[in-house]
């Protein structure tokens, strides 16, 4: 019984099918986030589905996929919202890239992945507020932002043990499809 969840792969390689599947997953997550997750009666606040999935995907797939994925889902979120276009795209793109750089370090251990993902989600939530404040002066109270980030990070820690292996398995499956198609 192997504990290994994921065969290590060459860094920086972008798999088109995997990328497309992840983009689809994250766009779905973005809609789910605002219409389902945001209205669940959960204690403390809400998990940030988009950031959790983005960080997990970047951790599995490396910096390039992370950056592209973050850019696409961030831009989609911007288009859905009423704030300045490109704001979430900036934060998500950077987050995907930086988490992707850590893909080597984590060595596919769920515990480290858990720490990285929760940290990234909390950092991403704070960065969203900071960028909002810098660009258009519409950040709320800082205390509230910290609380929101903390809660989002904690929920990320709860979700990651389930999402990380599931996403890893999903990614592996999309790769197999690609290889099977190859002559």
């Amino acid at each position: 019984m192997s504990v290994q969840l994921f065969e290590p792969d060459r860094e920086g390689e972008v798999h088109p099918l995997t990328l497309a599947a992840l983009v689809l997953l994250l766009l779905t997550a973005a809609v789910t986030q605002v219409s389902v997750v945001a209205r669940l009666p959960l204690p403390g606040g809400h998990p940030d589905l988009v950031l959790v999935l983005l960080a997990t995907a970047a951790l599995l797939e490396g910096p390039i996929t992370g950056a592209v994925l973050g850019f696409v889902v961030g831009l989609f979120g911007d288009l859905m919202s009423t704030h300045v276009l490109g704001r979430s795209a900036l934060v998500c793109c950077l987050l995907g890239y930086l988490v992707g750089l850590l893909a080597d370090v984590t060595e596919r251990s769920v515990l480290i992945a858990l720490l990285v993902v929760s940290g990234a989600v909390a950092g991403g939530a704070l960065a969203n507020v900071a960028v909002a404040g810098l660009i258009s002066d519409d950040a709320g109270a800082p205390g509230q932002a910290f609380l929101h980030a903390l809660v989002a990070g904690l929920y990320a820690a709860v979700l990651t043990p389930f999402l990380f292996p599931a996403l890893a398995a999903g990614v592996r499956r999309t790769r197999r499809v690609r290889w099977a198609r190859r002559p």
Partner: protein
């Protein structure tokens, strides 16, 4: 490895340049609900509407998980029947709650003689979690327009900021960009309430420094060409600046934004300003000398 790293740096640099360009362009052109954004709003609004009607019971399921009952685990007939009945009861409760909410909303609208379009919240906030907005399932086709006031049975909720045919984005009163004209109950002095200090606090600025604002005084909307007058906003809890050129005070809003569900968009104004009659009657009359001739 080094080549890969350089390539990934190049990719991220290009993407960042695009985001900065987008921010700059969009910031300069201002808010627009046309183009790509309008298309996304329309498509996503449709999806959100569908998703909400399908998954509305999820909230109930989650609350039943938070209060677990062991009957779900036992596989006998009685338990299933029990669970069924419980679900029916919960459904009945939900229907009753909705009916009560709708009739309260109607009552408030009738008091002010507002013409409203009822709508339900189908999405909350945005992906980054920094916007205080909600999306509702009524739009241009239902007669909504930008800048209309949105209310629920407790009072002011926000204003419409963008529209598609069947959905509208409402900026809540607590959004940092929200600024709504307000006046104190019993006076005609103009002020404004601004958001940005969290969901349970508004900042009221009165432009007339000669008037002494006192805690406990109530606020209604001032009214203008775009939006109706007399909608209850909240109650003054603390006077923060009593000396400057204007008065500022903290206001506790009547509406709690955490539990928004059914709202009404005010699309028609009453022929005359409804004054203070939309406010709920006071339990105790204000101190003597409160009314000025």
């Amino acid at each position: 490895m080094g080549r890969d790293l350089r390539r990934s740096r190049l990719v991220v640099a290009v993407l960042l340049i695009i985001t900065f360009a987008l921010i700059t362009i969009d910031y300069r052109t201002g808010e627009s609900s046309g183009g790509a954004r309008g298309v996304v709003h329309t498509v996503v609004g449709g999806i959100e509407n569908g998703v909400t009607s399908v998954v509305r019971p999820i909230g109930r399921t989650v609350s039943s998980l938070v209060h677990p009952n062991r009957y779900h685990d036992r596989a006998d007939e009685l338990a299933r029947e029990n669970a069924d009945l419980r679900r029916q009861l919960a459904d009945r409760g939900e229907v009753t709650r909705q009916a009560a909410e709708l009739s309260d909303l109607r009552l408030l609208a009738d008091k002010g003689q507002y013409t409203i379009v009822p709508a339900r919240v189908i999405a909350i906030g945005d992906v980054s979690g920094t916007d205080w907005t909600v999306t509702v399932n009524a739009g241009k086709a239902d007669g909504l327009a930008v800048d209309k006031i949105v209310i629920n049975s407790a009072g002011l909720v926000g204003t419409v900021v963008s529209l598609t045919d069947h959905t509208a984005v409402v900026r809540l009163f607590c959004d940092p960009r929200s600024r709504i004209g307000a006046r104190l109950e019993g006076t005609q002095l103009l002020g404004s309430v601004a958001g940005g200090s969290g969901p349970n606090k508004l900042v009221f600025t009165l432009y007339d420094a000669s008037y002494r604002v006192r805690p406990g005084e109530r606020l209604v909307t001032f009214g203008s060409l775009d939006y109706v007058a007399g909608v209850p906003i909240g109650e003054v809890t603390k006077v923060t600046d009593a000396d400057g050129l204007s008065r500022t005070a903290e206001v506790r809003p009547y509406v709690s934004v955490g539990t928004l569900d059914l709202v009404g968009v005010v699309v028609g104004k009453p022929p005359v300003d409804p004054g203070d009659r939309v406010l709920p009657p006071r339990a105790t009359p204000p101190a003597a000398g409160g009314s000025s001739g």
